[in-house]
């Protein structure tokens, strides 16, 4: 117990240092810098990736519906927080829309999670009976159906149809100058809760289901009940993640929540390691930094001296990127962390190390 406490304290200090570093970077680099962008978006993706890992990595449910639940969360948040004064302009084709009130940012974030969780509860009831890739394709299908419904003109007064939602409070409005800190706090709380869940008796039950469904059921674990729980909780956090993504983006459109978004998150989870929270977090920041920042030069046609650098053209960044991902998928199947956590590296390597 004492040793555990010590490790907990070290971890907390480490996290606090990370927060301070994030804060410091924002204050020194200024809001215009790409670092700040990467920190914000990376943190948001970290939450979404961890929520997906809870399903795919910890419970062994291959779900591809994450973008759908993010969409629900993002829309719930935006719809509830667009200021009254701006509604007429945003809902320009729908006479200002149906919703004629606004709520605070934090309650709206919670509502975003809850609405996404409700959707998940409804969808989970039928689809969680399916297994493996059928579950994957069914959740993917539901995400697409959600997207079609949100864009439906008839409920346009609620969702603004397929048009852009904007003018809702963004990261910048809430804690001006400390956007990174705000993102880190919300994401930190959410990931903290997921970690607590994973390390509770329920988390152990999830892992048991992942390892062997038949044995888990023989241990008295109600498969449907626990899968549903993992599905709903994952979607709850995906909903909050979607809302944070909306806050980060400043504008929101159903069209961008395509299945390719789910695939990206899945790839982050794979790169980080299925079943590793810290892996997902690291992979998110890496992924975002590479795609938004470090590899951007690959997209620019560059002339060095008099020679045009070959291959560099719009789109090359993503090619390089997807090749790297394929290399990870094929040759480093365990990802960065496998199913271990950063804080376990020192202590449990002996017990869990020798395995492939």
């Amino acid at each position: 117990m004492k040793k555990g406490n010590k490790r907990l304290i070290i971890s907390l200090v480490f996290v606090a240092l990370l927060y301070a570093a994030g804060c410091l970077i924002e204050h020194t680099a200024g809001t215009k810098s790409m670092v700040v962008t990467v920190l914000q978006k990376g943190a948001v993706y970290a939450l979404i990736a961890v929520s997906m890992n809870l399903l795919n990595g910890f419970t062994g449910l291959f779900s591809l519906g994450q973008a759908g639940f993010m969409l629900v969360g993002a829309y719930s948040y935006a719809i509830l927080t667009i200021p009254m004064a701006k509604r007429a302009a945003v809902y320009q084709y729908y006479n200002g829309g149906w919703v004629q009130f606004t709520i605070g940012v934090i309650p709206a974030l919670l509502v975003a999670g809850i609405v996404a969780a409700l959707f998940a509860a409804l969808i989970g009831m039928p689809v969680l009976r399916l297994k493996g890739d059928y579950l994957a394709i069914a959740t993917l299908g539901f995400a697409e159906i959600i997207r079609a419904i949100v864009q439906w003109d008839t409920i346009g007064p609620l969702t603004n149809g397929s048009n852009l939602l904007k003018t809702y409070p963004t990261l910048k409005n809430i804690m001006p100058g400390n956007t990174v800190l705000f993102t880190f706090i919300v994401v930190g709380i959410c990931i903290g809760l997921i970690l607590l869940l994973i390390n509770s008796t329920y988390g152990r039950a999830f892992k048991a289901i992942r390892d062997d469904e038949v044995a888990a059921e023989a241990m008295g674990i109600n498969l449907f009940h626990h899968k549903q729980m993992a599905f709903v909780i994952s979607s709850f956090f995906a909903g909050i993640g979607g809302a944070l993504l909306a806050m980060y983006q400043g504008s929101l459109q159903a069209n961008s929540f395509k299945s390719s978004m789910t695939y990206e998150i899945l790839l982050i989870v794979v790169i980080g390691g299925m079943g590793s929270v810290s892996g997902s977090i690291m992979a998110s920041f890496l992924f975002i930094a590479c795609s938004e920042w470090w590899l951007r030069f690959l997209d620019a046609e560059t002339v060095l001296g008099n020679i045009k650098v070959p291959l560099l053209a719009p789109g090359f960044r993503m090619v390089v990127f997807s090749v790297v991902i394929m290399v990870v998928v094929l040759f480093f199947r365990k990802g960065i962390m496998g199913d271990r956590e950063l804080w376990e590296l020192g202590s449990r390597r002996g017990a869990k190390g020798g395995r492939k």
Partner: protein, 292 residues
Amino acid sequence: MFDTLLPYLLAGVSVGGQYALIAVGYTLVYGILRLINFAHGDIFTAAGFFMVYLVASVPLPLAIPLVIILTVVLGFVVERVAYKPLRSAPRMSIMISAIGVSYLLQNLMWYVTGGLAKQYPVLPGLSQTIQIGSATTKLVTIVTPILTIALVVALVMLINHTKIGMAMRAVSVDFETSQLMGIKINNVISVTFIIGSAMAAIGSLLYFTNYTAVTPTVGAMPGLKAFVAAVFGGIGSIPGAMIGALIIGICENLIKAAGWTAFSDAFTFALLIVVLLFRPTGLFGEKTTDKV
């Protein structure tokens, strides 16, 4: 009434036939590897681009067989590089690899084309406009279902009456046992991918003659719909895939006719979910029991 519906039915049968050719690839691969080959739709797209670029340099009669050959090579390479090394890995890994390949192919095509739509060459004959009853349409609309049925019949004969077909059936029933019986699994799987890719290439010829713009993501939706068709028809069943695809093609067009245009894609997924929940083996699939 029939006069109003005829154009929709024609369009539905035509697009359904094209889905069917893609669906064959899904159903064969799934039948043997239990893998949803997410990259199959992108292989179909690649076939479209092969044509666009080939026609610029070689004459059409040569370009068509070249397109089929290149597509087959692509399908073969994808299997060897991305799926074969994962043969013993959990199924989730192979599926992730398939998603990765799809991502890679799309990005590659985006890079090569700049993400701009490319005009598909006109295939003499197929692109001609003809009049059927109240509907005016391209000749390809009529050719597609005929060609599709012919190819499906040929394929079914291949599978039922040749040695390789027997091997394919054996592998799809029991992977390990057929391996023990001396069937060269890797060859069988390669043949599966080759057949699937060739069908996708033929499908792309017909599809893009009908819908003349090729973009890097154009195959994603037809790919998914073809997969749904394969599930609907009963995964592993080639005639099932064809019938499923035709039904989906027709329904899709009738839904648009009813004015529910925004839901024509969503319908496919709704159908998929309903099938999975109430008849997971599809129209013609066989029931299996998991052994504990």
